[in-house]
């Protein structure tokens, strides 16, 4: 299993970036082995449609699960279509997120956390 988490940091002690579409980087981590890699989020500086491009990025990286703070409707619908499990409204460090997943203290999100923030 591969877990994608939006972050401002560069390793497992970094914090979850509450924004999915506009986060600086994604950390992709195997929760069993704790092996990880970090990829830049190209949508961070995109003028619009950030959520969609960010979702595309984690899909292309082969993620099965997303743990995040906020996930908007466009990102959510793309992740849903790719059958990626989304855990939203999670905060803290990457370690915290993995602990939460392991202890099954969070449930899969069934809807986006809020409206899209279109920049027009």
């Amino acid at each position: 299993m591969l877990v994608a988490i939006p972050t401002n940091g560069n390793d497992l002690s970094g914090r979850i970036d509450e924004r999915f579409g506009r986060c600086a980087r994604f950390i992709l981590v195997d929760p069993e082995t704790k092996e990880f890699k970090v990829v830049t989020n190209p949508a961070a500086v995109q003028s619009g449609g950030a959520g969609i491009t960010a979702a595309q990025t984690v899909i292309d990286q082969g993620a099965d699960v997303v743990i995040a703070g906020e996930v908007g409707p466009n990102a959510f619908s793309v992740l849903e279509r790719a059958q990626i499990k989304v855990y939203s409204r999670v905060s803290g460090t990457i370690h915290d997120a993995l602990d939460l997943l392991e202890s099954k203290q969070t449930t899969v999100a069934e809807e986006p956390t809020g409206p899209a923030r279109h920049q027009r």
Binding site: A43, Q46, S47, G48, G49, A50, G51, I52, T53, A55, Q56, I59, D60, N74, S77, V78, R81, A82, A116, H118, R120
Partner: protein, 277 residues
């Protein structure tokens, strides 16, 4: 002649000034470009007659031809396309209809359909022809509707464009290619801050401009200091008047109810049009 009325800050009196000028102009085309929240029509009554349903192109993928290579998603600068395993997702609201996905598709698997984003209506009263753009609720793209609205509204005589607030794309679309822009402001810190952004924007566009100060009153000198420093002419000051506000709240423009204001708006129009529209 094309005359735009804009503001920066919302609620400063764009519609008040645009309507006042249109009412005294006689034969005129008034264009309500504030398509997210048009309000000029409220003073004429009704919504007017449909001129056109406005549509924009949206990308559609032929799944029989698509190999899910992802070229279209990578080319889309608006992030409107995602390629997920064996399907392509187009987020219609984000698609600007630019067509680049179709150009880069190696399988020729993308075509365009049209989708409705709003409508343009027309109503007439005493020589005032009002063209209004109504953006459909939930649609995020105001600019293409304004572009179409400006194309549909005749500009052979005097045309007055009532702009949306702000300094973003819909405002730029409204003001560009006009002959003059009136910036309506109010003597408050918010009014001044947004005015400075509007002035910066309009200087980029190269459109000549001047200022109308609305709800004018004593006690905020920073506005005048800024206007003087920047050399921006003030063509009219409308006082903070309970009588004007009361008329307006009943859907009556003070130009129609107060003869001295009809005279002042006529002089303002003459000044802007050089005496003859």
């Amino acid at each position: 002649m094309r005359l735009a009325v804009a503001s920066g800050k919302g609620g400063t009196g764009k519609t008040t000034v645009a309507l006042g000028l249109a009412i005294v102009a006689g034969e005129v085309t008034l264009v309500d470009c504030d398509v997210e929240e048009p309000d000029d029509h409220l003073f004429l009554g009704g919504k007017g007659d449909l001129v056109e349903e406005v549509t924009i192109p949206v990308a559609r993928v032929d799944e029989d031809k698509c190999t899910h290579c992802g070229e279209c998603a990578r080319a889309c600068v608006f992030g409107a396309i995602a390629v997920v395993k064996d399907q392509v997702i187009v987020i219609d609201d984000m698609c600007h209809g630019c067509g680049v996905c179709g150009l880069v598709c190696p399988e020729d698997a993308i075509h365009e359909e049209r989708r409705r984003i709003g409508e343009v209506t027309l109503q007439e009263r005493n020589g005032l022809h009002l063209y209004t753009g109504f953006l459909d609720i939930g649609q995020p793209l105001a600019t293409p509707l304004i572009t179409r609205l400006k194309t549909l509204a005749p500009d052979n005589g005097l045309q007055i464009l009532d702009s949306p607030p702000g300094t973003a794309c819909p405002v730029v679309e409204t003001i560009k290619n006009t002959d003059h822009c009136l910036l309506v402001t109010e003597p408050t810190p918010f009014g001044l801050f947004d005015l400075t952004m509007a002035v910066d924007m309009i200087r980029e566009l190269g459109v000549p401009f001047s200022v109308v100060v609305n709800r004018d009153r004593e006690g905020y000198e920073e506005m005048d200091r800024y206007l003087e420093k920047e050399g921006v002419p003030v063509l009219m000051r409308i006082p903070d008047s309970m009588e004007i506000a009361k008329l307006y709240s009943r859907g009556l423009h003070f130009v129609e109810a107060m003869p001295e204001w009809r005279e002042r708006f006529s002089r303002l129009l003459d000044e802007l049009t050089g005496g003859g529209a």
